[in-house]
Amino acid sequence: MPKRELKLEEKTLLSRAAREVRHGAFVNLGIGLPQYLPEYLPSAQEVTFHSENGFTGMGEGNPDGTPDSDIIDAGGRPCRVIKGAAFFDSLTSFAIVRGGNLDLAVLGAFEVAVNGDLANWKIPGKFIPGMGGGMELAQKANHVLVISHHIDKKGRGKLVNECRLPLTGKACVDTLVTDRAVFRLRNGRMTLTCVHSDHTPESVLDPIDADVSVADDLELWDPADR
């Protein structure tokens, strides 16, 4: 897995995202920030990671430092597997996803719309890598958790009224965790359900251009609770 020094807000959103992962879950981690999630999970929690190129039971990089080029993650980086892992082919890998056996996909996003639409695979004219397994993960994981900076480098909020970029999936995002807040799809609309304790509903909602309702049971979460 990739190793770079994370920014404080990234650590915050990963800490909060980790609370969304259930004991015993089978989880797929998208490329990028989601790949840092495992180290934020309580060690007592049993979570099994699915790698869409063909296995369940992905673990951290080789402990003795020798990369095993026969065991790579979906981003092409050598990793290792835990006891109880199973290797399979791409068919079984996506049968797991489409068949309803993947409990959670943790994905990045370019845009999340208030109706749960997700755009994360293509920026026409600029970035055309192909969706890989992203559409299946977005459409078919039992829960889709998007983790993202609240505001992008140009100061725009990731949560929007309508995606302008090509969609990965329609109405597929269940939960969006940013460095400032948590939004959940309730009655088909993204709803602010939790604000991190160093923020307020105003500091969460003011910088984003999206019509989000605020939950009656709005929670406060303290990043120090990690």
């Binding site: 099994t48 597997v81 892992a85 068949g99 309803g100």
Partner: protein, 225 residues
Amino acid sequence: MLDRVTSVEHAVRDCIRHGQTVMVGGFGRGGVPFTVLDAVTRVTDVGDLVLIKNDANEPGIGIDALLKAGRVRKLIATHIGLNPDFIAQMNRGEVECEIVPQGIFAEKIRAGGAGIPAILTDIGIGTEVEQGKRKVILDGRAYLLERALQGDVALIRADVADRAGNAWWRGSNRNMCVVMGTACERVIVEAREIVDTGAIDPENVHLPAVFVDYVVPSGPLPHAT
């Protein structure tokens, strides 16, 4: 990974309900979950079941006890020739039976497990298999639209399973077991041998633990009647 080993009684009581659709592995005797079927018969009184199984077993073994007890509403199978008692029940109108070509039977279950709502096929075109089935024209040729099959519970017998649920089959025992394990909400694997998690080489796992809910030990196999 979670430890999924439990008693057959607990697994059966926890998973099986009246009126459910239950997939049962096996082809002839290979892969038939005799121990779990015995527990379903013995420790539950669920009925009105729809069974999905390659064949009807022989009289006196496998699903025959459930069939004889009138606890099965319908059997979906590919071949029932080895169970004349069931054929007689069917002819008396006591139980419904739907016969599907064997490879398409497997594909319908795979589709159910792989999140594919339907496939097209020309198997059965021009035979009575096409009766009542929707046709789709592709390049001027007619194909049958075969719908996916899904189940509430899958009951299958493996030769080796680890405690997490990864399973491996010997010889010709695999047959419909693996694909049924992918196509049901709950999956009970009975195994001749239960080993520590990780003891099966990850490359050689036939059914990954992600599909499995319970692992239970197999009892002795029934003798031929």
